[in-house]
């Protein structure tokens, strides 16, 4: 019979069952219209839910991207400081975050497409619900119950099919959103627990701590060197100044030159 015919029969059977339950179809039209409005509300909520989830994933993507960028910087800094081991560690962590990022980006695209489809479904349903309302008023105003039945069948079957389709789309979107929420929740938990945080930021960022320590170490070394140089430069001058009878002209000379020129001074203890 074919897949399409069989699927259609399933949809028809569902519409027919609902039609069979109607006594005076004109009254039931109002009830059906109410159901349509409820579904319309539901599909709009669905669109909003998917959008919320999409934004949450977007936020996480941004956070992870920042972390990834930071690790990249740290790897470069480490390498520049000659610490290949630290650079390797930073890049390993970056790779771990990249895996999460790739996964989130896939989810983001999927949610975006779901949001689009649901928005379109909402618009299609809106158009049909509007058409149904017009048809319903005409039928109620113009026809007797018996006549109305045949008039209603087509419109009812048509809108019932649309509602079935939209209903499936909503369910699908809900499933996807639920899956996504679970994953986003897991990543949020990971961030909150500090496991991810420890890797890339805050006081527990050991790569940064090491880089900072190295940076501070270099500073101390530089300062020490500077101090030594200063001391070395001024020490002979102090010795010269302590010498009694030393002339002003001699102290104005460069310290190294004067100490090298006078062998007696060079032999003295400092």
């Amino acid at each position: 019979m074919g897949v399409m015919k069989r699927v259609t029969m399933v949809f028809r059977a569902k519409a027919n069952k609902a039609l069979d339950r109607m006594e005076d179809p004109r009254e039931t039209l109002d009830y059906s219209y109410q159901t349509q409005l409820e579904l319309l509300q539901k599909v709009r909520r669905g669109v909003a839910d998917v959008a919320t989830s999409r934004k949450r994933v977007e936020l996480q993507i941004n956070q992870l991207q920042q972390s990834s960028d930071k690790l990249d910087r740290q790897a470069r800094d480490s390498l520049a400081a000659g610490r290949e081991d630290l650079a390797r560690e930073a890049l390993t962590r970056k790779a771990g975050i990249q895996t999460q990022l790739d996964d989130l980006q896939t989810q983001y695209a999927s949610l975006q497409s779901e949001e689009e489809k649901l928005t379109q479904a909402s618009q299609r349903l809106q158009a049909k619900v509007d058409a149904f309302r017009t048809r319903k008023e005409t039928i109620k105003a113009t026809y007797t119950a018996a006549e109305a039945q045949t008039r209603i069948n087509e419109a009812f079957t048509g809108i019932s099919e649309e509602m079935g389709d939209v209903g499936m789309a909503i369910q699908r979107a809900e499933d996807k959103t639920a899956q996504m929420k679970a994953r986003a929740g897991a990543i949020d938990e990971l961030m909150a627990s500090g496991a991810l945080d420890d890797m890339v930021s805050g006081p527990h960022d050991d790569i940064q701590a090491e880089l900072d320590r190295m940076g501070a170490g270099h500073g101390v070394d530089r300062e020490l060197e500077q101090m030594k140089a200063e001391l070395a430069a001024s020490a002979p001058r102090q010795i010269e100044g302590a010498q009694p009878g030393n002339s002003d002209g001699a102290s104005a000379q460069p310290a190294s030159a004067s100490s090298a020129a006078d062998p007696t001074q060079a032999g003295e203890p400092e």
Binding site: V3, V7, T8, V10, A13, K14, K117, R124, K128, E154
Partner: protein, 92 residues
């Protein structure tokens, strides 16, 4: 004749295309019945492609029911099977 692509909406398809669509549909059905994943995906894609090629979208407020309904393009074989046998897949 009106054909619905689930998740996308309805298309008006000329009667002259029906035989060809039925042939493509038979291939799809046999893939589902044999649980042949390898031929299921291309069969569904071929059927959809042909419907889109010959069909044109109906008016938004058209309340006519469809004569044929085709699963959504990314439907899995399992979803299609449930559409055929289980009314539970259609909510409400």
């Amino acid at each position: 004749m009106i054909v619905r692509i689930l998740g996308e909406g309805q298309l008006e398809v000329p009667e002259s295309a029906v035989d060809e669509l039925n042939q493509l549909d038979t291939a799809l059905e046999s893939a589902v019945e044999r649980s042949d994943e390898a031929s299921f995906r291309p069969a569904l894609a071929a059927l959809l492609a042909r419907i889109r090629e010959v069909g044109s979208p109906t008016e938004a407020g058209d309340l006519r029911p469809s004569e044929l309904i085709i699963p959504r393009p990314d439907a899995t074989m399992d979803e299609v099977r449930r559409l055929l046998t289980d009314e539970g897949l259609i909510p409400g």
